[in-house]
């Protein structure tokens, strides 16, 4: 793979991949520019601590952890607010949680942190806050997001669905994530209960060459068609610095998937397994040609394939997928419990996410081997400045 692949998220974006190979201009720019929350952690040198010490700015007009290059470890922590958590209590809770997130993201212990040593290596930590419809109800406000309608493919379980408050905690290191999760759950305790926690992983930093798309537990390259550059800007962010987040737990029916030939697996998605190239192309980032016809007069890109069904014509309506793999303990027969914590950011769920999900629910061969077992939606409030708190624009 060549340096050109780095451009996927826009030339100006600092990515950790841009530094692994010591890539010329981008690497130098990264060292000079430090870290903003639109890029990723920027190691100063390829030493042992090069992924442990970098930080991603917490404060800003937009929250970090959205367009930030996805870190290797993620925890999605959803809370159910107590009945007596009113608007004033929400303000108290969010002041506490904002303060924790800001300190931990700087590599400093939180106030009253009983494990200060675990805060010292921030490893590019981001904490992103999401507000579910229930949070707005508690505040007696109208929610800007609504739960998704049901889809025929759904087998949703309450234990993986819904949530009034979400914390998306991501870092290059799982111990950092664990500590941040623990600290913030402690401070949220007076205001609500933990509804669910979905922990997931991606490739560790330094494992892949820069520019490589990650694979999911089904072995597929996952994320090729994500928006980048100027397209990303409008697809993800509303003018007021807000976004929305959909989190769906997608179980992989791996035992069934294992029985397929490579050709059958490729047919389900419309891409070659090894390269990720669409059937009409030769390399991963070739744009699929949905009009191409083969010798028998059939479309080369099968109309039932995942890529075909998920394809978005207008780039401004694309969604930013930022998923994490999960792999819990197998059962006694060794059957896996694994899949994808699907997370997508988009400016507008109805305009951008719903049409795609409807098309996939109607027809997508991949549905044979994946099952949505959890679903939730969150509004992503604007960022805050130092001294402020997440949600102040909504709740203050």
């Amino acid at each position: 793979m060549t340096l050109a692949r780095r451009g996927r998220r826009g030339v100006a974006t600092v990515t950790r991949r841009g530094l692994i190979a010591g890539g010329a201009a981008a690497g130098a720019a990264a060292l000079a520019a430090g870290c903003d929350n639109g890029g990723g952690p920027a190691p100063a040198s390829a030493s042992a601590a090069s992924y442990g010490t970098p930080t991603v700015a917490f404060h800003g007009t937009r929250q970090a952890g959205v367009t930030t290059e996805p870190q290797a470890h993620g925890a999605f922590v959803a809370f159910t607010l107590n009945r007596d958590t009113d608007r004033a209590a929400l303000g108290r809770m969010l002041r506490l949680l904002t303060d924790d997130a800001a300190r931990l993201a700087r590599g400093e212990p939180a106030l009253g942190d009983t494990d200060a040593q675990l805060a010292v290596l921030p490893a590019g930590l981001t904490v992103t806050f999401g507000f579910g419809p229930g949070l707005y109800r508690s505040a007696r406000l109208t929610s800007p997001v609504a739960d998704l309608p049901g889809f025929s493919i759904d087998r949703l379980q309450d234990r993986w669905s819904g949530g009034d408050l979400l914390l998306q905690i991501c870092a290059e290191d799982p111990l950092t994530v664990t500590h941040a999760q623990r600290m913030m759950i402690k401070d949220a305790r007076p205001f609500g209960t933990v509804r669910w926690v979905q922990r997931g992983f991606r490739r560790s930093p330094g494992v892949q060459e820069k520019g490589f798309t990650q694979r999911n537990v089904l072995g597929q390259l996952d994320g090729t068609a994500n928006p980048a550059g100027s397209v990303l800007e409008n697809a993800v962010w509303a003018a007021d610095g807000t976004s929305t987040l959909v989190v769906r737990r997608i179980r992989a029916e791996i035992e069934k998937w294992d029985q397929l030939s490579v050709g059958d697996k490729e047919n389900a998605v419309g891409r070659r397994m090894v390269s990720g190239a669409p059937f009409t192309g030769t390399t991963e980032h070739d744009e699929p040609d949905f009009a191409a016809i083969d010798d028998s007069g059939l479309p080369v890109m099968p109309d039932y394939a995942h890529v075909t069904r998920a394809h978005v014509v207008d780039p401004g309506l694309k969604i930013l997928r930022r998923p994490y793999n999960y792999d819990e303990a197998p059962d006694a027969q060794g059957r896996p419990d694994s899949g994808l914590i699907f997370a997508s950011y988009q400016a507008d769920i109805e305009r951008q996410f719903l049409p795609i999900q409807r098309r996939l629910a109607e027809k997508d061969l991949l549905n044979e081997w994946i099952t949505p077992i959890g679903s939730s939606v969150f509004a992503v409030p604007p960022g805050c400045a130092e001294g402020g708190w997440i949600g102040e624009q909504v709740l203050a």
Partner: protein, 181 residues
């Protein structure tokens, strides 16, 4: 979040902002701990303050006292609208850690710091007039030996750990017992 608040020259200021460059006085910028400061305004600052939330009964406030001058600074007393205050320390008596008022106040060395933390020196809220809820922001004023007041705001945290249950008759629990709480 109040993280680093300057002293006021005179009078009690209930500061709710957290900017280090407070607008309350001409000398309100926080000085580098190593350089002498001529004005008493920034002689002592309080870094990372917080209070332990409590429904009723006593509780404590913590933080780091930072001496920005070239001479020793002593905190002799504290006040707060939230509660009568005392300066407390933990001492070993008959093999156990007990809490008692700090004789001579908190002495902060020149250009140095003094920690107020669970299990150590702290500001005692002897009788809070109302529940201190997690996330509440409380105002405190420290009186220095020089007569100058230092005011800061601290957020209340639902802290559990380091054995701080505050009761004058209570001795310090063992480290292992407190870690489990």
């Amino acid at each position: 979040m109040p993280v680093f608040v300057s002293a006021a020259v005179a009078g009690v200021m209930a500061l709710t902002g957290c900017s280090a460059s407070s607008a309350t006085s001409s000398d309100a910028t926080v000085a580098d701990a190593a350089s002498p400061v001529s004005s008493a305004a920034a002689a002592l600052t309080v870094r990372d303050p917080w209070v332990k939330a409590v429904d009723s009964g006593m509780t404590a406030a913590f933080g780091t006292l930072v001496n920005n001058t070239g001479a020793e600074v002593t905190v002799v007393s504290a006040t707060s609208p939230a509660s009568p205050m005392e300066l407390h320390t933990m001492v070993m008596k008959d093999g156990q850690m007990v809490m008692q008022p700090k004789e001579g106040g908190f002495v902060v060395p020149a250009g140095g710091t003094h920690e107020l933390s669970p299990g150590g020196d702290h500001l005692m809220l002897m009788e809070p007039s109302a529940a201190i809820k997690p996330g509440d922001e409380l105002s405190f004023t420290l009186q220095l030996a020089s007569g100058d007041p230092v005011t800061f705001t601290a957020i209340a945290k639902p802290f559990a750990g380091a054995g701080e249950s505050y009761d004058p008759s209570m001795t310090m629990p063992s480290a292992t017992a407190s870690a489990a709480s």
